[in-house]
Amino acid sequence: MGMAAAESQFHVLAVDDSFLDRKLIERLLQKSSCQVTTVDSGYKALEFLGLRQGIESNDPNALSTSPQEVEVNLIITDYCMPGMTGYDLLKKLKESSAFKNIPVVIMSSENVPARISRCLEEGAEEFFLKPVRLADLNKLKPHMMKSKLNNQKLEEIEEPSKDENGTVAAAVEPEIKDSAEVGSKILTLQSELETKQELLQVAQQEEQTLSNNKRKSLEEGLSTDRSRPRFECITTAV
């Protein structure tokens, strides 16, 4: 595709077996200016990405998109799903050379510290407690930016302009990491500005988000009943 980062939106693949939750996450992501594809299982997610384990795609009804055509900047998945859990999906993605660099976020309605740390250890970027909020999604922009930038750099490797030697140096990869980091730092700052503006618009929720930070909840041992504390935050907010 080769579009500039500013022109094309982030594309998020959302996985949840609950129709209601799929509608919600879809709307949340749209409201955050993302392009969304929703699927109802880990299997369908892998299918969409083009990862059909050991099954050749001779089926005429199968998706015709190949991994190169479908650019996914982030995968957000529910943890508790029948068959393949969100954790199983995460593992499969991290084990695949094609997709291990796509950032993955896990959502769950249960605050189980062991579950959270297991997912983070397996490579999940974030773990969100449900119900997921708009403010939570603001945390995703840096991850998606970096992913998009990496994809663009990879495209440039694949179509290198002939230099004098006509070779693509092996040193290209380390270079890319540095410039991607610088690039993503700049973009992180930009997205932080955006984030701040959005947070100002929903000022009360920012307070709640800080106190509900999922990693903090591990340390502070907050109870699973989040709704009452949040409501109190609203009443005491100025």
């Binding site: 209601l20 709307r27 119900p131 009943d225 709704s227 009452r228 009443t235």
Partner: protein
């Protein structure tokens, strides 16, 4: 009834639902996701919740009516109901589900189910009233007042 009065009634009614804990801030999140491009988002999602819940409560009643109750089948239903009620901000239904799951393998599951049903029918009734109030306002050519936080 005058438009201004209808709008005031709606605001008061909505506030009371929050104060009684029938709804929590997640419902406000839903309202924020509604805009010109998705003008019926809240009622769409709430309708999904009603459909899901009616089905789940029906299945639960059947499961608990059995001679031998299979609690392994009961828990996933309650987990699902807990999830969907939490997703729309039906706080008391969610809490009743949490209680249900804690006592699932003990004696009084029947009482737990009744409690869940009670909270569900309450929130269903309240939300249907809320939507009617909104419809009346819109039918009279008015705008739905934005929910004021900090009450």
């Amino acid at each position: 009834m005058e438009l201004v009065q209808m709008q005031k009634s709606l605001q008061d009614y909505t506030k009371s639902l929050f104060l009684e804990g029938v709804l929590d801030s997640q419902f406000l999140q839903l309202q924020q996701l509604q805009d010109e491009s998705n003008p019926d988002f809240v009622s769409q999602v709430v309708t999904l919740f009603f459909q899901d819940s009616d089905r789940i409560l029906n299945d639960l009643s059947l499961s608990l009516d059995q001679q031998v109750v299979d609690f392994k089948k009961v828990d996933p239903h309650v987990h699902q109901l807990k999830g969907s009620s939490s997703s729309i901000g039906a706080q008391r239904v969610k809490n009743a589900c949490v209680v249900f799951r804690s006592f699932c393998e003990q004696q009084n599951v029947e009482a737990c189910l009744q409690q869940v049903k009670q909270e569900y029918y309450l929130v269903k009734n309240r939300l249907e009233t809320l939507f009617k109030l909104e419809q009346q306002i819109v039918a009279s050519g008015g705008m739905i007042p934005a929910m004021e936080l900090g009450f």
